[in-house]
Symmetry: C2
Subunit: 355 residues, 2 copies
């Protein structure tokens, strides 16, 4: 079992939980929150898979946030995805104000189906809560030979977190981009990133841990560099990744989500483009050529401070393979999840022993 | 007339040239190099427009490089674009080993035409020389209501310039991304960037000017930070923009260009995706909503060291509007262009007076 990826040093202990125990507990919790059976299973499986990939920020700890969002009415536990093709030929996926993970799953599956038939497809995804780890969906599509580009935005009035390049005021959300494409011997190449220096969750995590953030990530309300998360909450902002380049990607995301697909209602609106790569070249030739490129990258001598050059998407799969079906959950997080289950009256899973 | 955007301080004088004089001279030069009449006009007009937009690195000075490429046989002056739809329904644009500007123009026009009919289109563009300023094509498509995404790669064996994130060795080209989308009152939002910290041309410019590069752009052969352009030529590399994020965008570009569209022959291969935004929402509503987003950004208080927050794509249009049809060309560059015309026996334009 590997340690998950973290931008902070957690000093507390961790509990080792099997994926099946975690999934069973999460399914019970989602059912207790009023989710339909199918949605409970889909969301629980997605969060557990994400934890097994080492992406703690999007893993099983999210159940706590989703539960809070259901309690406050922000998220409709009965909201279910639907899809229709309008009279202009556009596929519109609607999330019904529910959790976005089943909606995004449906969108990627439909995008692949349409692109398999027509070569390329574009879908609008709206009215959804949190949509989970997009890389998981992109990986699934790329495994079948499809290039996907998913970009969203449009919730800036609720989530003003990021300053435009050259500005002092948090105006934009962290509008992420996700691209997946078939790769070589080790599987697809998947990028899945926020257009900001860091995702918003790290600031909450730093505040809660009393930790400083890495340099160059946030500014205070006057636009000066700072590492103190409190400066963010006092009118500061996260900086764009790659200066004007991440900013430009975020603006495009906002125009797509708000202007082209909008108005936004719950969180971001999303555009998903799916393309059948096998129409361009035979799958075997794509994989052989990709492997040649990627092997060169993996074999590059590492720079000072690095142990190896990574290929985007491989870290998650390697972490999953090394996890042996076990997740290292911070004790405090696991206790909170169990408390939530207890409060919902669904705590019928015997708690695993601490490691 | 504004000064063009430059990462270096040029100490030499500049000559002011009218766009029509520059274009006439460039048309003659391209004809003298063996380009067909239509291609000569297209390429000359594109370079002049780019100079008027203030993008000096992609402007009229490129005629010197193209002439050299024709002389060495790298570029076929008679190579003309063609297009065909194969039996799998894929539109393949071929550049015939010629200059890529007319090819890219044809690709964007065809992409728009197809997307107008079907909602979305994807085109492969191969076997082309330099394809000019993609932002100009994206701007043209977005003015008509189309979202475009253009990404390329696949020429790494000739152009190993950029180190993968965490590596010391230059392995990848600067694989650029260009995205355009309809905007608000001031026109489309257009991003057009290399995935490296700086474009390769700046290193040549710094060496030639005896200047240091900005901090954090290149590393020496051991992977240590440096500002000296000679360290790049001595086995160093350009860094990725936005660390692992620009790197991931570059890897995706390389897999698209080399593995999916490849093998690459002349320079990059390109994938162009075009989408009709008006199928998703009425044009008036898109523009009104976009303007609301963009006005907020323009009105953001500037950070220390900045005078304003810009919207991607507006700087070029503002520069063009303020240019009054005149280009400030470094004396040395203008002299070289005139010398080239003289040597080709096409120097029939009376040289303008220095400013």
């Amino acid at each position: 079992m590997r340690s998950p990826t973290s931008k902070l040093t957690l000093t507390g202990r961790r509990t080792e939980v099997t994926a099946s125990d975690a999934e069973q507990l999460l399914v019970s919790i989602f059912a207790g929150l009023g989710f339909a059976s199918r949605a409970s299973k889909q969301v629980a499986a997605h969060l557990v898979e994400t934890s097994l990939c080492g992406i703690e920020s999007h893993g099983i700890m999210r159940v706590l946030e989703y539960a809070k969002q259901v309690r406050t009415g922000y998220l409709d536990p009965t909201g279910t995805p639907s899809i229709q093709r309008d009279d202009r030929g556009v596929f519109r996926v609607e999330g019904g104000g529910g959790i976005g993970i089943p909606t995004m799953q449906l969108a990627y599956e439909t995008g692949v189906e349409e692109a398999r038939e027509k070569g390329i497809s574009a879908l609008s995804i709206r009215n959804v809560g949190h949509t989970g780890r997009h890389g998981a969906f992109a990986d699934m599509a790329a495994e079948q030979g499809f290039l996907t580009i998913c970009v969203g935005g449009g919730n800036r009035k609720t989530w003003r977190q990021v300053a435009p390049y050259g500005g002092t005021k948090a105006l934009l959300p962290t509008n992420p981009w996700c691209v997946g494409i078939p790769g070589g011997d080790m599987g697809p190449v998947v990028l899945d990133f926020a257009t900001s220096k860091i995702a918003g969750g790290w600031i909450y995590a730093a505040r809660s841990a009393g930790a400083l953030l890495p340099e160059g990530c946030i500014i205070d309300k006057e636009g000066n560099a700072t590492r103190n998360p409190e400066d963010y909450f006092d009118g500061g902002a996260i900086l764009s990744s790659g200066a004007q380049k991440g900013y430009a990607l975020a603006v495009v995301g906002e125009i797509i989500g708000e202007a082209m697909l909008g108005p936004s209602t719950t969180e971001c609106n999303w555009l998903l483009i799916t393309l059948d790569t096998t129409r361009f070249r035979e799958p075997g030739a794509i994989e052989a050529s990709a492997e040649e490129v990627l092997a060169e990258l993996r074999n590059c001598p590492p720079a000072p401070g690095f142990t190896q050059v990574e290929v985007p998407g491989e870290r998650e799969r390697n972490h999953h393979a090394a996890s042996e079906g076990r997740i290292a959950v911070p004790d405090e997080t696991w206790a909170q999840i169990n408390k939530l289950a207890h409060n919902l009256g669904v705590a019928n899973v015997s708690p695993p022993q601490p490691n």
